[in-house]
Symmetry: D2
Subunit: 379 residues, 4 copies
């Protein structure tokens, strides 16, 4: 089959690789209809995070079940399914408690948490390919309504829609609350959309890219252009000096000013400033324990020197980490099916698999208008 | 009346000051029977935090109601009451939501949160004195069973017992969970006691002072002597390499190694190491936005460069801040009354008010056996 | 002043009564701009529940603060405010825990829970009048944006909007869930509106009055006409035989079939049938301990013989009781202010106080199109 | 193998039946070391609930893994395990949300919820036998420390300890709360034990059998002898007229007075009376949709005419249903391992499998001192 293969920094290729096949009784093989390029794919793409040459990319996957193992009886061949980016065994202690993002058995390295086509998440090939093997298929796969409707919406269920939603969950967004989302990339936009789905009264979205801010406004948010205003001042003014109830960090370790200079603590500091005393922050932007190219010595070891003293004085709570997709994807699917959620509105480009190289290149360069790329290996 | 008055770094005095009196219709005046010296009293005492000369110390107070204002009708003269260290109006937005620790109206500075006899918490005199004025008395005061029974237990309800409990609440301690408490000072001991009251299966308490560790064991905890073992290794070994479900930070900004050298990120780093992936940390040890005497340049501005990258990778949640005492003191009182909680077991010294100077001195020097001092201005 | 006074079954009058005045330091007097007639006003109006002759009606009140007592300092003269229907002291054990609906001190009868102008809720005159006295004003009153905007929306904050919302809270409505609301009276409509504000994927509303069902559809709900279809069958079919996650009871003890015959267990039985195994039911329709005119002997003593055996087998949870308005009204206010909630859409008639008699009569007869009546004593 | 087989009302026999064997890749076969007789076994034993002749009894099972299917890789041969009474697939919507008690796939009848050796829970043989087949073994089985220690405590993890705990969860028992448990049978005793493990301040246990009340006191509870005092009056007096925060129903549909006459609503009515306004009731005593031998016509159809009017007026919440054992058994196991929980203290008789007939007979007759029977098929 054809697949997007990692070759080295800034180099991917669409190549022929062996077809995946059923390896155990709980496996399924999926024919991929949509596989998105994720912002976090750019971390290894840019060489910022180590990735094994030859690995197949892709953790935002959906498709049609092609084959199932002998022990699979919930999922059937022909089912249209979404594949959560985090792969989980379904029977360990963390899976039992809903923390599929920290499955204790799926990652052979022994580190909690596994996934597809992504550094440090185990040996599992990704889905930017014609076919994808999914272990523990009955546990992991989410059934979708048959047909082809809402393809661009449902394809967001594998990662960024639940991930944005997870940010709002950790930030304790609830009806009538005010929210500040930092970062208007795909995850930040999904956080803004999710915040309104959860009943937020007002959502601010901070970024300095105008195409992304325009999308945020399409979801009903109030945009705050970091290139034009003092972000903290703008949000404090707009909330009568009180601040917002909830903050979402959707930027991560590469936080930088509009001039492009990285300041690892910048977004956390801003969040500590704009979130009200006793408020909550949800961090879904990625921070890494090791980041050799970081802007400060401390940040190379994962140390982010943000204003913890003020956080304590305000009594803030901070939730962090990868989204356990299964905790949310069923309900988000139903919102799409009922026409109440439209995460696919952020898609700017649909490409055949053969165009993946161009997709990575343009998305990585943040070319204006390239907000989200969906690959269609099989259609 | 006589009161403990702040004169300057390392200098307090027991002096005559004017009696407090009813100033508004919602005030009460309390005759203090017990007022404890708190570890956080040592912050201004040591000059580490600015405090106004002439202020009366004391935010851990209980006593008998002496007089009430015209609008007080729940609390009666003669009631035996505990006074939460955080003073709250009872009618603002934060009080409405139970965040009495961040009352929006009680502190004339406009900063959320007020209290008695403590820097930056407003102009309210403390209770290391014969009498104490308590505004919004009907809202703030907790009634205790009449008489003198359980005095040393009930006196812990004003601050450290709820504060330790708050740490376990933010750390999501629940039946069958494992817990690591860093710091075996009075708050850490109360956290350990609280963890068991909430049903913890096992509680580790880390410190390097043997008298304190002995008290931790008295509450059923497993002591970890930081002066003798590698703390992280010891806890990981004792949990089969899994780590603990919950961690409580009961040390604060002056975290130091057994040799006495401060490392502002030390305790947070250890917690990030020993708390399991997806676990929770409750921070009740105090961190300040400004700390001119801190060990690092960043920490002088409240910046604590702990390993946030690993915290994110593990998906930890971190709750911080002062305890809203009213959220817990009623239930903790009832546990004392029923004989199920014995927070007073940590008291090492009961002194008359006149001995307060010696109490501060010995407690500040962490003289062996001086774990908790209770002053009895009126008995 | 003029006020709507209860004279006896089916008889109210607009009469001159003495002006209320400040009686204690925590009182305020409000000049009423809007006072709604509530469905539960019809219980005493119809003589089904005992009410004292001479009492002033009205527990859905808003207006402008006219005067405040000496101890009131949060609320100011001139503030535009909403008055929660349940009156609460703000300092008792239940108020401390947010259960203002069960205040232990406000009702002189000693029964938990007090309110305005309503049987068994204490001696407090209602607000279908020019002026209203509100005790514990700082605690009870909710400030509204000044001016006259959104008057019909904000006036729903005193009772039915929070009450409908409370039904969805007890029914555990959350993003992506399906909901069945029984009863399309004002409270049921607010429950449907609230369910969508909380992110429900689909909301069914059951009634047999077409004007009300039309309003339900206006809020986005799927109407189920009990006069035309088998309600249980219709909902089970629409959910693929699975049932709904959440059910809201917004009918109460006078549940009847389309022919008008009362069956006290009818709505609860239907809810037990249509709510999925492990689902939740929120009961905001009123059931009374004593109901001499009930259709069955048991129901006269408050006994409702619904299918508890099936409820147990399905593992359902059932929340009941009056709404603690303060738990929700601030956030719902902010949703109105931001234009995201429009509870006032249900108002069919705005009348001057002098027309109150006609308002009661037409609303009680459920004359087509009389869905909700708002009186404007002062405008 | 030998097994306890149901023959008809009041008739069980220990007979030879075919050995169970691995039927699918996810099965395990367990050699049973302990299998308890449950109070709910008496429902079919007494002929009150229909049961298929020839079925093997037993849903409270633990033992050693004898053999596993090809797809089982978490559980190993030789593991000592507890078998939750509810059997669950681990991959359906309800299992995903932790409701293993309402698994949508395990019961071929299509009704949510499956189990071992119990009417209406599917075709699965029970474990009062030498061997037991457990489908979905990796998901269902809980590993225990190897060896034979705490056998009588761990054997309570399959049902009654989690079931009693579930009652306290639904009743919202929390630190410092007061609790009333109705029924001092094994489940009620486990509820009392659980309530204290969760930090309750005081637990009342109501029954009229003195041997059971003595066990309740052993767990620290205050016994209330229904044969000697007015239960409601006794509890109200002991709580200063306030009532208890939480109530647990551990009796079920056969509620009867000390004279033995059944009153289906008796226990629910008492709970509605003694639980404080805004309190919570957890119902783990079984109520059935069909009960042909019930004392009232309504109760034959599962209708329990309890005082719902008062429940509404007090704003009570009521949780019901079978316990999802996996939600609690890991943490309860750890409490046993750490010596903090001792559920096995209720065991009065340990019998070899051959004595099962006598065990059923004596336990069913509630012979004094026969509080809990454990069979040991293999030891």
């Amino acid at each position: 089959m054809k697949a997007v293969v990692y070759k080295g920094p800034y180099e991917v290729a669409v190549e022929n690789v062996p077809d995946p096949r059923i390896e155990g009784p709980l496996d399924a093989v999926i024919r991929i209809t949509s596989a998105n390029i994720c912002g976090s794919d750019l971390h290894p793409y840019e060489g910022r995070v180590e990735f094994e040459s030859g690995m197949v990319f892709g953790h935002e996957n959906m498709g049609i079940v092609e084959e199932v193992g002998a022990g699979v009886d919930r999922i059937k061949v022909g089912d249209r399914v979404s594949v959560p980016f985090n792969l989980a065994c379904g029977t360990c202690r963390n899976c039992n408690q809903g923390f599929t993002s920290a499955c204790l058995r799926a990652n052979p390295s022994g580190q909690p948490g596994a996934g597809f086509g992504y550094p440090a998440m185990g040996p599992y090939w990704g889905g930017q390919a014609e076919l994808l093997r999914v272990p523990w298929a009955d546990f992991n796969l989410l059934k979708l309504p048959e047909g082809t409707e809402h393809e661009l919406d449902y394809t967001m269920l594998s990662d960024i829609f639940p991930t944005g939603y997870h940010g709002t969950e950790m930030a304790k967004v609830a009806p009538g609350k005010t929210v500040a989302v930092f970062g208007a990339g795909p995850v930040g936009l999904m956080a803004a959309h999710s915040a309104y789905l959860r009943g937020a009264a007002q959502v601010f979205v901070v970024d300095h890219q105008k195409d992304r801010l325009a999308l945020a406004e399409k979801y009903g948010a109030t945009s705050v252009d970091a290139g034009e205003v003092d972000v903290v001042e703008a949000i404090m003014d707009a909330t009568g000096g009180f601040g917002v109830d909830s903050g979402v960090e959707a930027v991560g370790y590469q936080a930088h000013d509009p001039a492009g200079n990285e300041h690892p603590a910048l977004v956390m500091d801003n969040l500590v400033s704009v979130v009200r005393a006793t408020g909550a922050i949800g961090v879904v932007g990625v921070y890494n324990p090791v980041d050799p190219d970081a802007a400060t010595e401390e940040a190379k070891d994962g140390r982010i020197a943000f204003d913890f003293g003020t956080a304590f004085t305000k009594g803030l709570s901070i939730g962090t980490g990868q989204c356990p997709v299964k905790a949310y994807n069923r309900e988000l699917r139903d919102l799409i099916t009922q026409g109440r959620a439209t995460p696919g509105d952020i898609v700017s480009h649909e490409l055949p698999l053969d165009d993946a190289v161009r997709g990575f290149d343009q998305f990585d360069k943040r070319v204006d208008g390239w907000t989200k790329v969906v690959l269609h290996p099989s259609h």
